[in-house]
């Protein structure tokens, strides 16, 4: 049994089923992200774990103990919110000490712990400041320290970075991950930003309409999305429709080109249409070695992003995005020119129609 166990969680608001049959086990020290579009129920799941919402059905266990009916203040969880939630009437040190005071930790121990926490978040000199004297990034750091100070069993983060500007967001997310690793604290992180989720998570749960569509390591989710939604939500995706020629041998055709799928036999009937997905980085401009599928293309747009050049090309009636690395001796192709693209059959992701 996992350290944090969510079993068949359901949440209904009025007639609105917001979370449907949601199950998840999080191991001790694991960093799991709930990823999905706005309104898909991420926050609701997190709030049920925190005890702010009572599940309509299902159960929540932390470290083997059933906490489903326990009140928030007895669950020993730490939480960080999207909105700045520091107590405005208290200094940074008092904010961090709050949970310890409530727990009845003696003063000397409390003060030592506050210093330790402020060092952990890299703000040892701001102890006597008030929240309104801090930047957004500093406030969220202090909020993290405050949540961690009483040594909670589980850390819950609800889009804690979304109010910050882009640069701070990236540096703080890495910092959160480092601190989480250092302390080995079991963590659930909610975000709608797939890049954020992929860059810091051990595991991602992609949610859609209150359902967990797929759970897995970022590498797994990105490279082997099981549903069309997951494939589309995580990263950019190029979709082709293909015709099944021989399901048993895994043969399909795209724009007259026959492709022998690496997976071999597929679950489809001959003559049926299926969806093929390809990541931008799996498609090459020109004929590349080890890319056995070659299709003619027209260049429609070129976006120079620095180390990467993203090209939009029309292939077999659809526009695909493909990424090439910048090389000084190889200028990008001119707009409107014809070219060939190629990809390996083993990179093809087959999705249910």
């Amino acid at each position: 049994m996992a350290f944090l166990d969510l079993t068949n969680l359901e949440k209904v608001f009025g007639t609105n089923r917001v979370v449907k049959d949601f199950s998840l086990g999080v191991d001790k020290g694991e960093f799991v992200s709930l990823l999905g579009p706005s309104g898909c129920g991420k926050t609701t799941v997190l709030r049920m774990v925190a005890g702010f919402e009572t599940p309509t059905s299902g159960s929540i266990r932390i470290d083997g103990q059933d906490v489903t009916d326990q009140r928030t203040n007895q669950r020993a969880i730490g939480m960080m919110f999207q909105a700045y939630a520091l107590f405005p009437n208290m200094t940074v040190a008092d904010n961090v000490a709050f949970g310890l005071k409530v727990k009845g930790v003696p003063r000397a121990e409390r003060e030592a712990r506050v210093i330790e926490m402020l060092q952990l978040i890299g703000l040892p000199d701001l102890a006597s400041r008030f929240p309104f004297q801090l930047s957004g990034g500093q406030q969220q750091r202090v909020a993290l320290a405050r949540a961690l100070a009483p040594q909670p069993r589980v850390l819950l983060l609800d889009e804690p970075l979304s109010a910050l500007d882009a640069k701070v967001r990236v540096s703080l997310r890495n910092e959160i991950r480092e601190i989480q690793r250092e302390l080995g604290i079991t963590t659930i992180f909610v975000t709608h930003d797939q890049e954020e989720a992929m860059s810091i998570s051990d595991r991602i749960v992609v949610m859609n309409g209150g359902i967990a569509e797929q759970a897995g390591a970022p590498f797994e989710i990105y490279n082997n999305p099981r549903t069309r939604f997951v494939a589309g939500f995580v990263g950019t995706l190029n979709m082709f429709t293909a015709m099944v020629e021989d399901a048993e041998r895994g043969l399909i055709t795209v724009a007259g080109q026959r492709i022998a799928l690496a997976t071999g036999a597929i679950e489809a009937r001959n003559g049926e249409t299926v969806n093929l997905a390809l990541r931008p980085e799996a498609i090459r401009l020109g004929r590349a070695v080890s890319c056995e599928v070659v299709l003619p293309a027209t260049i429609e747009a070129v976006h120079f992003l620095g180390s990467v050049i993203r090209v939009r090309a029309r292939v077999a009636g659809t526009v695909v995005a493909l990424d090439t690395f910048n090389r000084p001796d190889q200028p990008p192709p001119p707009l409107g020119s014809t070219a060939e693209i190629s990809f390996a059959a083993s990179d093809v992701i087959l999705l249910p129609a």
Binding site: A50, G51, F52, R71, T72, N73, Q74, A76, I77, G78, M79, F81, A83, A85, L86, F87, P88, N89, M90, F98, G99, V102, K103, F130, P131, F132, Q133, A143, R146, A147, P150, L156
Partner: protein, 260 residues
């Protein structure tokens, strides 16, 4: 041109407000024939009844404020947190004391709690004091509730509550350590208004026959010439003193400056 009218209106307002004060102060200094003196003030301060009634009203004001804060802060907090749809109803209820005359309330009290009733509160001085305090709290309710509710609007009540809960705090801790400190200035302005109401209140104290400051002022006004304006000036000075104190407290609570 608009500036000119604005200034004119402002000056008229100031005159309307200040002139009676100046006149009253001037008159209060004229007790000794032909010269200005503080004789009227000395007479007031020498009167034992002034000190008795004033301290009585002060104590009741203190009790009213404590009761009002204990009633209003948790209520306004709870309504904001859990029953936002009930806010119009609560606001209406808190406004009722403004439209129901104090005399109606006090007659209601006397009918309900007289010596032959189930709860004969008017039978003892302490019981009557308690009734009077409740009456004062009712009169002060519109001001106290509005002040506290406005104070609560400046903080994110729901998120702060949840943050405190996640850190292990219960309701009492949340109210005492987070909500109350953050609405302290609002509570103080409510307390100040309560004090002003209680010190000047006449009807309830007179009908319940308690030795409060209001009935004393009335008594003095009916029998003397120079002392009543002196008393009014004193009351005014106390009021302005309270306002100064509120300013001072605001200045000292650092985090409050962020909101201004």
């Amino acid at each position: 041109m608009t500036r000119f009218f604005a200034w004119t209106a402002f000056l008229l307002g100031v005159l309307f407000f200040v002139l009676p004060l100046v006149g009253m102060t001037e008159f209060s200094l004229k007790m000794r024939r032909g010269e200005y003196s503080f004789d009227a003030y000395r007479r007031v301060f020498e009167d034992q009844r002034f000190w008795d009634t004033f301290s009585y009203s002060l104590i009741l004001a203190g009790a009213t404020i404590v009761f009002g804060v204990l009633l209003v802060v948790p209520t306004a907090y709870w309504v904001r947190l859990k029953l936002p749809q009930a806010r119009p109803v609560i606001e209406f209820i808190t406004l009722l004391p403004l439209v129901i005359p104090a005399i109606v309330i006090v007659f209601g009290y006397i009918r309900l709690y007289n010596t032959s009733s189930v709860l004969p509160l008017t039978g003892s001085a302490l019981g009557t004091d308690f009734l009077l305090t409740m009456g004062y709290a009712t009169l002060a309710l519109p001001y106290m509730y509005r002040a506290v509710d406005t104070g609560l609007r400046t903080i994110d009540v729901a998120t702060l509550t949840e943050a405190a809960q996640s850190l292990g705090a219960g309701w009492i801790t949340i109210l005492a350590r987070i909500i109350l400190p953050n609405v302290l200035v609002a509570v103080l302005s409510g307390a100040f208004l309560t004090l002003a109401i209680v010190i000047g209140e006449f009807t309830m104290a007179a009908l319940l026959n308690r030795p409060a400051f209001g009935p004393f002022m009335q008594l003095l006004g009916a029998n003397r010439a120079y002392e009543p304006p002196a008393l009014a000036v004193i009351a005014f000075a106390i009021t302005w003193g309270c306002m100064g104190l509120i300013q001072l407290v605001t200045r000292f609570s650092k985090h409050e400056r962020a909101k201004v």
